[in-house]
């Protein structure tokens, strides 16, 4: 096994890092491969047709030697519903789904290439328990267990692979590849050639995905990834590593750095970087400088000359370069040995005593300065510029920040070991079983049933005014659907309706009319009192179709709210329970507004004006005397949230001013049914929204708040 297999730069990503990328970006059948999730897929073929529902709870990744990935998904609480040749259910089902995908580099724009997956195949395997369930469910039925498994496999493959050919999916880890040109490390990483291959291993934590890159055009024919048979990653699971060949280090790190330090070009450097006979620096002429990778260090060797009035000195030098890492930064340490100097003197120099000493000192000093330049250059140059971008060598918008932990030098190259702290996956890990009720109430018919003039004096106005009003009757329909998460399908729901402080009344059959006694209804009329309240028996027509329920009001029964509750059974007819064994019991408050009044003539604006005046006055008083802790802030008449309105009313009441009754009446009239919505809402029962704990919570509401 070799470190680089003949390539210039190899980037390796650990198994867990690739799994993170897959869970973040890869979709199987349009669903992000990030369990837990659930899928419903059609089942169709010779033998029968219907649909399957699976709750996927886990994922495992294998990176294979043939450059494919196998994603193994665990599923549970699965069921298959056949509609033909006859209606029948097969459940409960659990097992695994293996999804096979090839891995490649996919070309993008501007010479970019991204890691890409192409899903090619999927297989389903059932557990022993599921095998028994299949045999038992299909016993004596027209679909045989063998046909069932064939159908299941076809369905899964169709789901996972999609239309043929299925489309390539890329993950946001991109590279720049410009063929037939020398690449670079900085200012951006550019490859001449790049290949992606899996490094397989029976142990998943030793598997890795490696990107084998050629940086130097001269090496374009080099490299055979099969020579790298094991990953160089040393971190346990969040590891990555970048390995660079000595040649690439010279060409892309050392030589450019030296040229920069010596204010010249690489070509004007002496061997091994350039072809110049030598370069003058710090009083010496460096005639050769080469580096050799050893175990744990890089040897820097070279020659230099210095000539004087009657002498010529030749020196050979040696330095040992090591790297350490401090806070993710590569720190070079170069120790220069004392150079070996030989001085050739002209004959008459023998008479000039002391010339040798200064020559030697000058050479040693000059070469030490060269060594210092190398160390400084490496500290601030190519490698650390790469490190500064997070993860050296890779465009990694799809990954978290990389941090280099150690630098290793071997005769094969320089390897930077690091870790990637991947951010939290963009899905929730809440795998709780859930049922919900989703829906709303809409007005299906609205008719004018009255109109007239409302004569009133709003509290801050000098005089009474006439405001035209119109009264409406509203037929309304509430449509609610039972939704689910991670439970066994199909759902067979049961619904009940319940007044705020009364018992649950079951809805039987698929349609009917329910009478609910003792419901508190509101009416916006008479306007002068801010409406009226009637406790009465209300009638709600209902219609149940599968998991959807429609509820219709009788307009003459005014504005009121009831609770819609639901429970359900799953495929095997057993009640659906949460993870603590309690029945799943979603509920929704259904508010009907059968009676409605609109007041024109600027009534709302007048009330708002007075409210603003009052707010300003209260603020002024509060600032002066600190009488009131809260200033009621006017809530605009534009479908405010119940919480806002309840808080406003609560703050208003707590003022204890004599004018509050007038104000409340006007506000109630101005807000109309919004006011009733607010006082019927659960918000009106939240102690935190009401001052002084004056709220009385009906038992049913308490029960709900406690859930």
């Amino acid at each position: 096994m070799t470190l680089l297999a003949g390539f210039d730069l190899v980037s390796e990503f650990s198994h867990d890092t690739i799994l993170y990328l897959i869970r973040s970006h890869l979709k199987v059948g349009g669903v992000l491969a990030n369990p837990p999730f659930e899928i419903t897929i059609p089942v169709s073929g010779s033998g029968g047709s219907g649909s399957a529902h699976l709750v996927v709870t886990g994922i495992h990744l294998d990176l294979n030697a043939d450059d494919t990935a196998t994603l193994t998904f665990d599923f549970r609480t699965g069921s298959v519903q056949f509609s033909s040749p006859q209606a029948l259910s097969v459940c409960p089902l659990n097992g695994t789904i293996a999804v096979h995908a090839s891995i490649s580099l996919h070309p993008g724009s501007h010479h970019t290439q991204s890691i890409a997956f192409l899903i090619t195949r999927a297989d389903i395997a059932f557990s022993t328990a599921a095998d028994h369930a299949i045999s038992s469910s299909l016993s004596g039925k027209p679909v045989t267990p063998a046909q069932f498994k064939t159908l299941a496999n076809q369905a899964i493959t169709t789901f996972a692979v999609g239309s043929s050919p299925s489309s390539v999916q890329t993950v946001p880890v991109t590279f720049t590849v410009v063929p037939n040109e020398d690449g670079s490390l900085v200012p951006s990483l550019v490859f001449e050639r790049l290949e992606v291959h899996c490094i397989a291993n029976p142990s998943r934590n030793k598997q890795a995905l490696a990107l084998f890159g050629i940086l130097l055009k001269a090496n374009k024919a080099h490299g055979d990834h099969t020579h790298k048979t094991s990953s160089s990653i040393k971190a346990a699971n969040d590891g990555m590593c970048i390995s660079m060949s000595p040649e690439a280090f010279d060409a892309l790190v050392l030589c450019p750095m030296l040229a920069k330090k010596l204010n010249t070009t690489v070509a004007k450097l002496p061997t091994a970087c350039g072809s110049a006979p030598g370069i003058d620096t710090n009083g010496v002429t460096v005639t050769r400088i080469v580096d050799t990778f050893g175990d744990g260090h890089i040897d820097i060797r070279g020659t230099a000359t210095k000539s004087g009035f009657c002498y010529e000195a030749h020196a050979t030098f040696h330095g040992t370069l090591k790297f350490s890492v401090s806070d993710g930064t590569l720190v070079p340490h170069l120790v220069m040995d004392e150079p070996d100097v030989s001085v050739a003197l002209d004959w008459y120099c023998w008479f000039i005593a002391g010339v040798i000493g200064p020559a030697e000192l000058a050479i040693a000093g000059g070469l030490n300065a060269v060594g210092q330049s190398i160390a400084e250059g490496l500290a601030g140059d190519a490698i650390n510029q790469l490190l500064g971008s997070g993860l050296p060598g890779v465009g990694t918008s799809g990954l978290g920040a990389g941090e280099v932990k150690t630098a290793e030098i071997t005769p094969d190259g320089l390897t930077l070991q690091g870790t990637i702290s991947s951010p939290v996956l963009p899905t929730n890990y809440n795998a709780d079983k859930e049922l919900g009720l989703s829906g709303s109430v809409t007005t299906t018919n609205k008719a004018v049933i009255g109109s007239g003039v409302f004569h009133t004096k709003i509290w801050c106005m000098a005089n009474a005014k006439d405001y035209p009003y119109t009264e409406y009757s509203q037929s309304q329909e509430g449509t609610y659907s039972l939704t689910s998460q991670f439970v066994q399908l199909p759902l067979s729901p049961s619904f009940t309706l319940q007044p705020d402080d009364g018992p649950e009344i079951p809805l039987t059959g698929t349609s009917g009319t329910l009478e609910i006694a003792g419901v508190q209804s509101h009416y916006p009329m008479p306007l002068a009192t801010g409406g009226s309240m009637v406790v009465q028996t209300v009638h709600i027509d209902y219609q149940i179709n599968g998991t959807t329920i429609r509820l219709r009001n009788r307009p003459e029964e005014g504005v009121y709210a009831v609770w819609l509750n639901a429970t359900a059974t799953g495929c095997n007819g057993q009640a659906l329970l949460d993870d603590n064994g309690k029945p799943l019991n979603p509920f929704a408050q259904v508010q009907f507004e059968g009676n409605h009044a609109d007041i024109g003539g600027g009534y709302e604006a007048d009330v708002q004006y007075c409210a603003a005046q009052m707010e300003a006055w209260i603020r002024q008083k509060s600032d002066q005397y600190a009488i009131w802790q809260k200033t009621p802030v006017w809530v605009e008449v534009n479908y405010p949230s119940p919480e806002e309105l309840v808080r406003y009313v609560s703050d208003l009441v707590s003022l204890g001013l004599p004018e509050v009754d007038d104000v409340l009446r006007a506000i109630k009239t101005a807000h109309g049914n919004s006011f009733f919505r607010a006082i019927l809402s659960p918000a009106a029962r939240q102690p935190s929204l009401l001052t002084g704990g004056t709220a009385v919570r009906p038992p049913a509401a308490q029960k709900r708040l406690a859930r």
């Binding site: 009255g450 009416y523 008479p526 002068a528 009192t529 007041i599």
Partner: protein, 116 residues
């Protein structure tokens, strides 16, 4: 029944009420005040009577057999112009409902007196 018919002038949208048997004809506001006590007694005897009176006084008075003349009604409205924005929808709902109400009114008087 003439006075009752004229209620449409007050609330043109609401249609005719369903009057009970008239046992008292009121021709003026003063006449109404003169009979105030017995009218209130009658209202109190009516199920949810005070509540119904609050929702729609004219409908309730007609229901309990108090026949207001046009003049008396005009006088009432002149003295209490805020008696407006009335509807029979909640009135009928309360009449239909046999349930115990959570808010129960008691009447001390019928309408605002003339200022002396």
């Amino acid at each position: 029944m003439k006075g009752i018919k004229n209620m449409s002038n007050v609330e043109p949208s609401e249609g005719d009420p369903s009057p009970g048997v008239a046992w008292l004809k009121i021709d003026s506001f003063d006449d109404l005040i003169k009979h105030e006590k017995e009218i209130i007694d009658q209202i109190e005897k009516t199920p949810n009577g005070p509540n119904l009176f609050m929702i729609h006084p004219f409908l309730l008075l007609a229901e309990i057999g108090v026949q207001l003349s046009t003049q008396s009604k005009n006088e009432i409205l002149k003295l209490s112009p805020q008696i407006s924005g009335l509807s029979r929808t909640p009135y009928d709902a309360l009449k239909r409902s046999g349930a115990q109400q959570k808010l129960n009114c008691r009447l001390k008087g019928l309408f605002r007196r003339r200022e002396k």
